[in-house]
C-alpha cells in the first residue's frame, strides 16, 4: 500500500521542522560510543606494520622475534588472509581489496600494510612491530599522474594492460582503462563556436579528513562465529568484505556499526577490519585496532589527484556549441579511480548538443583511493566551471546568465545518456542571481566567482522495519549508518506517515544480523532510500493496524482508512465507529493477533539529482598570496528538506571542505615517494577562524519519485567550490587559476605574473 500521492503535496506536521535529533543528548554528553569506544573483556590491542617504501618487492617477512616478545598473542602477515567465496555484492575487485589490506609480494605505496600484531597492550604491540624483519628490494616508484603515463614510467603492475582500447595494447602500462561518453559531433560544434576555451587543469589529492580514525573491535569465537564493531558507512559492506577475505559464511559474521565520526566516502571500504578479525581468529581473543592519524593519511583512501584537459566552445549569443574534456584520475596503486563519475559529472549541468568526455584510470604508488563526497565531481567541475567563467567574460555575458542559457532542465539528455526528470538547476541559478550576496559590492583585492555543480544520488538495496509498541510509540530500524543526523529524518518521516508525535518515534541502526541487507550510507542515498523504506514500512504497519481495527469493529479490512494517526471507517457505509488511535490499536495488539510491525525490503530507485550553485568572494593579500574567503553562499535543490538544519549543515560542511581543498589541502609526496604531510598540522583543513558564516538557501523542487520529494543533498555541496573559488581568485588576480590547491605560493606567483 504505497500510497505516495496521499502524502506528497500536503502540509506536514513533522517533515520540514527542526527537532532535536534522537542521538543528540548522548553526543553532547560524551556518552555516544564511536569506533574506538568499545572495550571487551580479555581484549588485545593491535598495531599494523607499514611499508616505508613507495614501491618495493617484499623478499621476506620474519616475525619470529615479534612472536617471542612477552605479551604478544598473534602476528599476522598476508599468508593469514586468503580470498574465499563472497563479497560478490561489492563493486571493488576483492583481489585488490585483499592486497590493499595486506601487501602480497610487493609494497605498493608508503604506508602499505605489511604485517600486524595483537598484544596485551598497545605499547607491547608497538614494540613488537619493531621486531618484525622485512627484507625489501626497493623499486623505482611514481606518484604523479603525468609521470605515471609517460613512456619511461616504472610499471606498477607488470600484468596490467589498458582495458577498452582498440587495438589491444602490447605493453603493460600504468593506465588501467579508458572510457568515453558523449553525444553529437564535437568537431562540428567547435566549428560553430565564436569563442573557444582550452586549457589543462590539475588538482592534487585531498583527504576526507574525518576526525575519527578508523577503529574496530573484532571478536572471533571458537565456534566459527564472529562479531565486529566498527565505524563504517556500511556495516553490510564490512561483513561482505571480511567474510570474503576470511572465507566465512555471511551468517556467521555479525557487524555492528558504531557511531561514526565522519566518513565522507572514506569509510565505504575496509582497511583494518579484516586484519583485526584475522588476528582475533588467530589468538581467540577480542582484538581492538585503531589507526593513528598518520596511518589514516598514509593508508586509507584519499580522493584521486587529476589532470583535466577541457575545451569548450560558445557562440556570441552565449550558447555552448561543444564541450570536450579528457580526464586522467589516479586511484592510487590499484585500478578503480572514480574516472567514470568524473567524466559523467563534467558536463552534467549543461544541455549540450555536442559533448564528449574521455577518461583514463591511472595507477601510481599511492594509497588506493576511496570515495570522497561526490567522487570525481569537484575536479571535473573545477575545469568546466573555470572554462565557463572565462567564456562568459569573453562573450560579455553575466556568468549566471551564461549558465542559465545552457542549463540542463527537465528533458535534457545528459552527456552520460539518461534524460533528466524534473530538476532544479535553473531555480538555483535564478536564486543566486537574485541573492543579496550576488548583488553586493566587492572591496579592494576581492573577486567574486560563481559555479554550479551536480551529483547523481544513489538508490540501491535498502531495508527498514518498524514496530509499534504496546504503549503507542514506534521504533524504526534501518541498515544505513547515521553519519549526520539521518535518524532524526527517519523519525520525522515515520511520525508523519504514522500520524504520531516525533517524540514517540525512535530510530536505531541495526546490526547485520537483525535486518536484511542494506547498502552503504553513500551516494547521498540515505534520506532518500532508507527514508522511502521507512515510509513503506510504516505504511505496511498501518495496513496491519487497519486490519486490527477492522477486526475490532467487525467490518471488512478495505473499509478502514488511516488518517492523522487514527483508523477510521472509510465512509458512512462502512459503519459508524469512533476513529481509533494508533495507541488504542497498539494496546490491544496481543488480543487481536500479536505484535504489530511493518517492514520494507527493496531496490530504491527514482532518485532525484541535486544541483547547486555557489557564490564565493575571495580577498587576496597581493604581498603574500594569502587568500581569505570573505563571503560564501550555497544554493541547492533539496527536493524537500526533511530536517532543514541538517540540510543546511550539509551545504555548509561541503562548502568548507571545498574551501579547504581549493586553497590549502593537498597530498605532498617527496622525491622518495613518501607522504610528507601525514597529519593535521600540514594537511591544512580549514579551522574555525579560516571561514566566514556560510549562507545557505534551500531550493525545493520535489523529487516526484520520493514520498516526501527528497533529493539527496550530502554530496553536491562539494562539487562547485573549487570552481567558484577558482573563479573568484582569477577575478581578484586578473589571471586564470588552473591548479588546485590555489595555495599562497601559487597565488603570489600568479599575482607576480607567473
Amino acid at each position: 500500500m504505497n500510497k505516495i500521492d496521499d502524502i506528497s503535496g500536503t502540509e506536514y506536521k513533522y517533515v520540514g521542522t527542526r527537532p532535536v535529533r534522537p542521538d543528540g543528548v548522548d553526543k553532547v554528553t560524551g556518552k555516544a560510543q564511536f569506533g574506538a569506544d568499545l572495550y571487551a573483556p580479555g581484549m588485545l590491542f593491535a598495531k599494523i606494520l607499514r611499508s616505508p617504501h613507495a614501491h618495493a618487492r617484499i623478499l621476506s617477512v620474519n616475525t619470529d622475534k615479534a612472536e617471542a616478545l612477552d605479551g604478544v598473542k598473534a602476528v599476522l602477515t598476508y599468508a593469514d588472509l586468503e580470498l574465499g567465496d563472497g563479497g560478490h555484492d561489492l563493486e571493488d575487485d576483492m583481489n585488490h581489496v585483499l592486497e590493499n589490506v595486506m601487501a602480497r609480494g610487493k609494497a605498493l605505496y608508503d604506508g602499505h600494510a605489511v604485517a600486524a600484531v595483537a598484544a596485551n597492550s598497545a605499547s607491547i604491540a608497538k614494540r613488537a612491530l619493531k621486531l618484525i624483519d622485512v627484507e625489501y628490494e626497493v623499486l623505482p616508484h611514481v606518484t604523479d599522474i603525468e609521470k605515471a603515463i609517460a613512456p619511461d614510467a616504472p610499471i606498477i603492475h607488470e600484468d596490467m594492460y589498458t582495458q577498452d582500447m582498440d587495438p589491444k595494447p602490447e605493453k603493460p602500462s600504468n593506465v588501467a582503462r579508458r572510457m568515453e561518453i558523449g553525444h553529437g559531433d564535437i568537431e562540428a560544434g567547435f566549428e560553430k563556436a565564436d569563442f573557444i576555451f582550452e586549457r589543462r587543469f590539475r588538482t592534487e589529492a585531498a583527504h576526507q579528513g574525518y576526525i575519527e580514525p578508523h577503529a574496530c573491535l573484532a571478536n572471533y569465537r571458537s565456534d566459527g562465529h564472529a562479531e565486529i564493531w566498527c565505524c563504517t558507512q556500511g556495516h553490510f559492506m564490512v561483513r561482505s568484505a571480511c567474510a570474503a577475505l576470511l572465507g566465512m559464511d555471511l551468517s556467521k559474521l555479525r557487524v555492528t556499526a558504531s557511531e561514526i565520526g565522519g566518513g565522507f566516502g572514506g569509510k565505504t571500504t575496509v582497511f583494518i577490519e579484516p586484519v583485526a578479525l584475522a588476528l582475533s581468529r588467530k589468538c581467540g581473543r577480542p582484538v581492538k585496532l585503531v589507526m593513528d592519524r598518520d596511518e589514516v593519511f598514509r593508508a586509507s583512501g584519499p580522493t584521486p589527484s587529476s589532470v583535466i584537459d577541457v575545451k569548450i566552445g560558445a557562440n556570441k549569443e552565449g550558447v555552448i556549441t561543444a564541450g570536450f574534456a579528457e580526464l586522467w584520475f589516479q586511484g592510487g596503486a590499484f585500478p578503480g579511480s572514480v574516472i567514470d563519475l568524473g567524466a559523467m559529472c563534467s558536463f552534467a549541468c549543461y544541455n549540450l548538443e555536442n559533448v564528449k568526455a574521455i577518461g583514463w584510470d591511472v595507477v601510481v604508488n599511492r594509497p588506493k583511493s576511496a570515495a570522497y563526497r561526490a567522487p570525481g565531481a569537484p575536479m571535473a567541475a573545477f575545469a568546466v566551471e573555470s572554462a565557463l567563467d572565462d567564456l562568459a567574460d569573453r562573450i560579455g555575458i553575466d556568468p549566471i546568465d551564461f549558465r542559465l542559457k545552457n542549463a540542463a532542465e527537465e528533458g535534457t539528455i545528459a552527456s552520460f545518456g539518461p534524460k533528466f526528470r524534473r530538476i532544479g538547476l535553473k531555480e538555483t541559478l535564478e536564486a543566486a542571481k537574485a541573492s543579496d550576496h550576488y548583488n553586493s559590492q566587492l572591496g579592494p583585492n576581492q573577486g567574486r566567482g560563481v559555479a554550479s555543480g551536480f551529483w547523481f544520488n544513489f538508490g540501491g538495496t535498502t531495508s527498514a522495519s518498524i514496530k509499534i509498541e504496546l504503549d503507542g510509540t514506534a521504533v524504526v530500524t534501518v541498515g544505513t549508518p547515521d553519519i549526520g543526523g539521518s535518524r532524526a529524518s527517519m523519525c520525522q518521516m515515520a511520525a508523519e506517515t504514522l500520524g504520531i508525535p516525533y517524540e514517540d518515534v525512535r530510530c536505531i541502526v541495526a546490526d547485520t544480523s537483525s535486518l536484511p541487507y542494506s547498502a552503504t550510507t553513500e551516494g547521498s542515498r540515505t534520506t532518500h532510500s532508507s527514508g522511502m523504506a521507512t515510509v513503506y514500512a510504516a505504511q505496511n504497519a498501518i495496513g496491519v493496524m487497519c486490519s486490527r481495527a477492522a477486526m475490532i469493529w467487525g467490518i471488512p479490512e478495505d473499509a478502514v482508512d488511516w488518517k492523522d494517526g487514527h483508523a477510521r471507517p472509510s465512509g458512512a457505509n462502512a459503519g459508524d465507529f469512533e476513529p481509533m488511535s494508533l495507541a488504542e490499536i497498539a494496546k490491544k495488539a496481543h488480543e487481536t493477533g500479536g505484535p504489530i510491525a511493518g517492514h520494507c525490503e527493496f531496490e530504491a530507485g527514482k532518485v532525484g539529482q541535486s544541483f547547486g550553485t555557489h557564490i564565493a568572494d575571495a580577498e587576496i593579500d597581493p604581498e603574500t598570496g594569502f587568500t581569505k574567503i570573505v563571503r560564501y553562499t550555497v544554493i541547492q535543490d533539496a527536493g524537500r528538506a526533511i530536517h532543514p538544519s541538517y540540510v543546511e549543515g550539509q551545504y555548509q560542511g561541503g562548502a568548507v571542505q571545498g574551501i579547504g581543498w581549493a586553497l590549502n589541502e593537498e597530498y605532498i609526496y617527496g622525491e622518495d615517494g613518501r607522504l610528507q604531510n601525514a597529519g593535521f598540522l600540514d594537511y591544512r583543513m580549514p579551522v574555525c577562524s579560516d571561514v566566514p558564516m556560510i549562507e545557505t538557501e534551500i531550493v525545493e523542487v520535489p523529487n516526484t519519485g520520493h514520498p516526501f520529494g527528497v533529493r539527496g543533498v550530502g554530496e553536491t555541496p562539494i562539487a562547485p567550490p573549487l570552481g567558484a573559488i577558482g573563479n573568484a581568485l582569477s577575478h581578484a588576480i586578473g589571471r586564470r587559476m588552473d591548479t588546485i590547491p590555489m595555495s599562497p605560493p601559487r597565488v603570489l606567483e600568479a599575482v607576480n605574473g607567473g
Partner: protein, 157 residues
C-alpha cells in the same frame, strides 16, 4: 617499564589509576577510567577532540602525560552536564544542529565552556580564534559558532 600510580580529581571525583610512564592523559582517561567522551582524532594536539580542563586550563589531553595528572584536577566532557541537566552550551548545540557526526562535539563543548567562563560576551571573531584548535569536518563551523553565541547570550541573562 613499571607503571605509575596516580591520584587525581576527575569531574569532582577522587580517582586513582596506574599508567605507563609514556601514556597520555587521554589514554589514561579512556583506557583506565572508562571516560571515553574525550576522543583521539590525532594524538598530536592538532584537532582538539581530546580537550579537557587541567587545573583550570584548557589543554589537549593527548599532550599531557597520565603521570602528570597526579594531584591535579581534571574536567572532561562527562562533567559538563549537571546530572540530567544539560549545560546551556549542550542544549544550544542540540537546538542549532551544531553537530553532525558528533566526534568533535565533546572537545568543542569543553573548549567553548572554558571560553565563556573567561569571556561571557565573545564576538564571532573571538569565538572562531578560541576554537581554532578544534577541528570539525562536518559542519563548516557555522552552526557551532552560532550555538556558542546563543549560549553565551542565554548565560548572560
Amino acid at each position: 617499564m613499571s607503571n605509575i600510580h596516580v591520584s587525581a580529581t576527575v569531574n569532582g571525583d577522587a580517582v586513582e589509576f596506574l599508567c605507563e610512564p609514556d601514556e597520555s592523559l587521554l589514554d589514561s582517561l579512556r583506557d583506565r577510567l572508562a571516560l571515553t567522551g574525550s576522543k583521539e582524532g590525532c594524538g598530536t594536539g592538532d584537532c582538539g577532540a581530546c580537550s579537557v580542563v587541567l587545573d583550570g586550563r584548557l589543554v589537549c589531553s593527548c599532550l599531557v602525560l597520565g603521570a602528570e595528572a597526579d594531584g591535579r584536577t581534571i574536567e572532561t566532557i562527562e562533567g559538563v552536564a549537571d546530572g540530567d541537566d544539560l549545560h546551556p552550551l549542550q542544549q544550544k548545540f542540540l537546538d542549532h544542529a551544531a553537530l553532525q557526526c558528533g566526534i568533535c562535539t565533546p572537545g568543542f563543548l569543553v573548549a567553548a565552556k572554558a571560553l565563556l567562563e573567561r569571556n561571557p560576551d565573545p564576538d564571532e571573531t573571538e569565538i572562531r580564534y578560541w576554537l581554532a584548535g578544534n577541528l570539525c569536518r562536518c559542519t563548516g563551523y557555522d552552526k557551532i559558532v552560532r550555538a556558542v553565541m546563543d549560549a553565551a547570550e542565554e548565560m548572560r541573562q
